[in-house]
């Protein structure tokens, strides 16, 4: 029995959330049962991801591969669980568990009625399943299907709060994301046209043999995929949908969207860029320069926009734009240090940003105020929430001993190795700006006199969720060992010249 589960674990982590999502609508009247099922699923997902990660660590990076339907690789769909997949799976599982706990406490209240709350949970699990699928799949068309599932779930999650503002944001997102999907499908089509394979490994081999015969098609495919995934992962000039969407959604949805969804598309882009095109082709086409430039612009612009926002959730949403810039910068620098930094920063930002959004959600729910200038005294009235917010902020800025530091440190080492002075300056400036937009919130919350109002920390489940996320931030910062090891090996694996 256990060996059966172990053998099929790569497919179980993907289909289990989907299975549960499908049966949820029939229990819509018993919302407690729905919440229990969702939480149980995320716990099981966490255990599964942890077990897979330990297996891969023991196998020394030898990926576990799984052929769906028993059809071998070039014909059938192949799932392959390597270091990169494990890192991302762990990230998805470790964020979705606290967010599910947090949502269980007041989602019915926030979206209005158990029926709508059930809809939220269905979309939540579909998104989780799609993210897990993105982590393990090594088939290009499968990537497109999962991207679509994730995109539509995200649109539903954004609009779940039943406000006109949320509906408008979701519609904007739907239009832009559909454009992105079309571009991704086009890019995959071009790749299929010249390689005749959808399996990433086989497509990569073929592409490296024939790309010089079709330079324009390769350029088209590359630019379609970059813009398509760029829209979806909110790369700076294409980020216009993100601030509205992430600030209008209910807080658990914002947490999962900002923390995980944008990373899912980034992981897909990493897989396509490094596993299909390969590092040699990227360098030949100077793609890494474009990525570096885009990343640097995103860091500066995202941070500057964040500085000017007075609404708490909008400021956090723009901060996501800046942090996505770090991810792309690391990809562009394209050496082992910078890629390690990117992957680790991805994981730590997922935890940090979920923590920040959940804390912000708890504050907004308790005080009814969403402007930073009105947050005076929140630190005294809601000590635990604000403590979690502070830990996450400090970590995002990149203070040593917190998880954000390790990612940014590796990125900085990577930029030193690449000899890119401008990138070094931008990474440091980004951190300073990050302190500039996050620390004033903490100052207002702790050091300004509190009004005479009855604000309280949220209930036990939400407190547990917040503390879990803060604990994750501290663990990732203090004992990064196994995670950094996974990131390092994944980075080295991406840089292998095929």
């Amino acid at each position: 029995m256990t060996t059966t589960i172990e053998a099929h674990l790569p497919v179980f982590v993907v289909i289990m959330p989907l299975f549960v999502a499908f049966i949820l609508p029939t229990f819509a009247r018993r919302i407690r049962l729905v919440e229990g099922l969702v939480t149980a699923t995320t716990v099981l997902g966490f255990l599964g991801a942890g077990y897979l990660a330990s297996l891969v660590l023991i196998r020394n990076g030898n990926p576990i591969s799984y052929s769906l339907g028993g059809w071998p690789a070039p014909w059938g769909i192949q799932l392959s669980v390597g270091d990169l997949s494990c890192l991302f799976l762990l990230m998805v599982a470790s964020v979705s568990l606290p967010v599910a706990l947090f949502a269980a406490d007041n989602m019915t209240h926030e979206v209005g009625g158990p029926q709508r709350a059930t809809r939220f949970y269905v979309l939540y699990l579909l998104l989780g399943g799609a993210m897990a699928g993105m982590a393990v799949t090594s088939d290009l068309f499968n990537v497109f299907v999962l991207v679509e599932v994730a995109t539509l779930s995200c649109c539903g999650l954004v609009s779940s709060s039943n406000q006109p503002r949320a509906a408008e944001a979701a519609f904007n997102y739907l239009i832009l994301a559909t454009l992105g999907s079309a571009l991704i499908l086009g890019g995959i089509g071009f790749l299929y046209m010249i390689t005749g394979h959808l399996n990433m490994g086989f497509a990569s081999q073929e592409l490296n043999r024939v790309w010089q015969d079709y330079p324009h098609v390769v350029w088209m495919a590359l630019s379609f995929l970059l813009v398509g995934f760029g829209v979806k992962s909110a790369l700076f000039p294409l980020h216009v949908w993100l601030p509205d969407a992430h600030s209008a959604a209910p807080s658990p949805a914002s947490a999962i969207l900002s923390g995980l969804a944008v990373k899912g598309y980034a992981i897909c882009l990493i897989k396509v860029l490094f596993n299909v095109f390969g590092i040699a082709l990227i360098r030949d086409l100077s793609m890494h320069r474009i990525l570096t430039l885009l990343g640097m612009i995103a860091i500066i612009a995202g941070s500057l926009f964040a500085l000017t926002q007075d609404k708490l959730k909008r400021r956090l949403a723009f901060s996501t734009v800046a942090q996505v810039g770090y991810i792309f910068l690391g990809l562009g620098l394209a050496n082992s240090m910078s890629l390690t930094g990117t992957l680790f920063h991805m994981a730590s930002h997922a935890v940090i940003k979920s923590g920040l959004f959940l804390a912000a959600g708890a504050i907004i729910a308790a005080t009814g105020k969403d402007r930073i200038s009105e947050m005076a005294g929140v630190g005294k009235k809601m000590p635990i929430t604000m403590a979690v917010f502070t830990i996450c902020s400090v970590s995002l800025v990149g203070i040593p001993l917190f998880s954000g530091f390790i990612g940014k440190w590796n990125l900085l080492l990577g930029s030193l190795e690449a000899g890119n002075r401008l990138a070094q300056a931008v990474i440091i400036l980004g951190s300073v700006l990050c302190a500039g937009y996050l620390f004033p919130i903490i100052r207002v919350a702790y050091f300004e006199p509190a009004p005479a109002a009855d604000w309280q920390d949220p209930g036990l489940p939400q407190k547990t969720a917040l503390i879990l996320l803060a604990a994750w931030v501290m663990i990732l910062g203090a004992v990064p060992g196994p995670f950094l090891e996974l990131a390092k090996r994944a980075a080295l694996d991406l840089l292998v010249v095929k």
Partner: protein, 141 residues
Amino acid sequence: MRDFILKRVAALLLPFIQMYGLYVILHGHVSPGGSFAGGIVVGLAFIAFTTIYGLERGRAKVPEKVTTLVESYGTLWYGIMGMVGIFKGAPFLANKIAGIDLGELGALSSGGLIGLIGLGVGIRVASTMITLFSTMMEEES
């Protein structure tokens, strides 16, 4: 009485349209079409019924409860069929190597589990079409 001809013709035709839809769903793996196309045909039959006889009677034929059930468990059915492979000691979604007899080439049973999977997808697509249509109609009225 105004729509007498329309209603009579629809009443005569709709069963055949649905039969054809089910045929397309079940023969997806041996002939053109498939569960998606067939599901659309079945769904369109219900949509035609709703446009001719009115939203209320259409809803009475297929209540929201039924569509919710079908949409949820139709998709789950796909997963369950995939699990057959795992219970037989083969990979997820395995068909022939899970020990299912495929019979004669070109016969209806030669798809193994594919026909059953298609049935799940087909009824799910049909019910999604109905839901989409009724939602839009209810919003307008």
